[in-house]
C-alpha cells in the first residue's frame, strides 16, 4: 500500500500526472474517511476531500521527498475535516443551521440509515482525538504507527485513545452489540 513517490528529478508535468493518478486511486478511501469523520455528511465530505486535494496540489512543489505522499495527503484531509467541524459548530452556534444531525441525503440508502445516525451520534460523543483514532484505525484500517503520523501524536497516546473510544462506543451501542450476539 505504500506509495513512495520519488520527487527529486521529476519534471512538473510528470508530477502532475502522478498526482492525478494518486487522487483517482485514493478518492474513495479519502471520501469514506472524511464522511466518517464528519458524521455522515456526504456534501461536507466531498467538499473536504476536494479542498484537501487542492491544498495538496498547491503544496506539491514544496513537498519533501522523504515523506510519503499518502501520509501527507491524509494528514491534510484529517486536518481539513477538523476545520470543517469547527466551522460547522460556529455556524450552528449562530443559528445558521438548525439541523443538529446531518440529513441523510441518499434517496434510497442501502443499509440502515437510522443505525448510521446512531453510530454518528455515538462518534460525536467521543473527543476529537478518540474519534480520529477510532475511525482511522478500526474503520479505515490504518496502522497505529500510520495514525500517529497522521494526527501528530505518539503511538502510545493513539492506543490509549483507541481503548477509551472502544469502551465508550461499546457502552453507547450496547444494544447493538447484544443484538449482534443474539443473531450469531
Amino acid at each position: 500500500m505504500e506509495e513512495a513517490i520519488a520527487l527529486e528529478g521529476v519534471d512538473a508535468s510528470e508530477l502532475e500526472a502522478r498526482f492525478e493518478a494518486f487522487v483517482v486511486s485514493h478518492r474513495e478511501r479519502a471520501r469514506r474517511l472524511a464522511w466518517r469523520l464528519l458524521g455522515g455528511d456526504e456534501a461536507a465530505a466531498d467538499d473536504v476531500v476536494q479542498d484537501a486535494c487542492v491544498r495538496a496540489h498547491r503544496a506539491l512543489a514544496g513537498f519533501r521527498g522523504e515523506a510519503r505522499l499518502e501520509t501527507w495527503f491524509y494528514r491534510i484531509l484529517v486536518r481539513q475535516a477538523h476545520s470543517h467541524r469547527r466551522w460547522r459548530a460556529v455556524r450552528e452556534l449562530w443559528g445558521a443551521s438548525s439541523e443538529r444531525e446531518p440529513a441523510d441525503p441518499q434517496p434510497a440508502p442501502a443499509g440502515d440509515p437510522a443505525l448510521r445516525r446512531r453510530i454518528a451520534a455515538a462518534l460525536e460523543g467521543l473527543t476529537r482525538a478518540q474519534r480520529e483514532a477510532f475511525v482511522l484505525v478500526h474503520l479505515e484500517g490504518f496502522t497505529v504507527r500510520e495514525t500517529a503520523a497522521l494526527v501528530g501524536r505518539a503511538e502510545g497516546t493513539v492506543k490509549t485513545h483507541l481503548h477509551r473510544a472502544l469502551q465508550r462506543l461499546r457502552s453507547e451501542l450496547a444494544d447493538l452489540d447484544e443484538k449482534r450476539r443474539s443473531e450469531t
Binding site: W35, V54, L123, T143
Partner: protein
C-alpha cells in the same frame, strides 16, 4: 509480518466483531460514475481558480506595496497635512525680539504686542523680571 501485526491495536475477538459491525453499517454509498466525473471537473476548476487568484492577488499585492513605498518615500510638508498648525509665533518665554521690524525702522510697542503678545511689548528684558528676581540678579551680577 510480525511488524505489521504489532501495529494493529490489541482487541479481543468480541471487540473485533463489534468493530466489524460498525465498519459495515457506517459507510457512505460508493461514488457513481456521474458523481465521480462531476467531482473531477470541479476539482480541476478549483485548482485552476486558485491559480488565477494567486496571480491576481500577487499583482494586487505588488501594486499596493509600490504605492505604500512611494507614500513613505515621498517628502510630505507638515503644512500640507490637514489640521497642522500654521507656522507658530515664537514662544513668549523666548528671547525678546529685536525692536526692528523685518521691513526696517523702529517698531512701536503696539506692533510688538500685536505680533508677539503683551509680554513682548517690553523692550527691556530686565524689566520683565519680578522685583525679587531683580534683587537676586543684581546681587549676583554686582558681586
Amino acid at each position: 509480518m510480525t511488524r505489521a501485526r504489532d501495529q494493529r491495536p490489541e482487541t479481543t475477538s468480541d471487540d473485533a466483531r463489534f468493530v466489524e459491525v460498525l465498519r459495515d453499517a457506517y459507510a457512505p454509498e460508493p461514488l457513481g460514475p456521474a458523481r465521480r466525473a462531476a467531482l473531477d471537473a470541479e476539482l480541476r476548476e478549483r485548482i485552476a481558480r486558485r491559480a488565477r487568484c494567486w496571480r491576481v492577488g500577487g499583482a494586487a499585492a505588488a501594486v499596493a506595496a509600490t504605492a505604500a513605498m512611494a507614500w513613505w518615500l515621498l517628502p510630505v510638508s507638515p503644512t500640507a497635512l490637514p489640521g497642522s498648525a500654521p507656522a507658530a509665533a515664537p514662544q513668549r518665554a523666548e528671547a525678546t525680539p529685536a525692536p526692528e521690524s523685518p521691513a526696517g525702522g523702529d517698531v512701536e510697542a503696539w506692533e510688538l504686542e500685536l505680533l508677539y503678545g503683551s509680554d513682548a511689548a517690553q523692550p527691556d528684558g530686565e524689566a520683565e523680571l519680578p522685583e525679587e528676581y531683580l534683587a537676586i540678579a543684581s546681587m549676583l551680577l554686582d558681586g
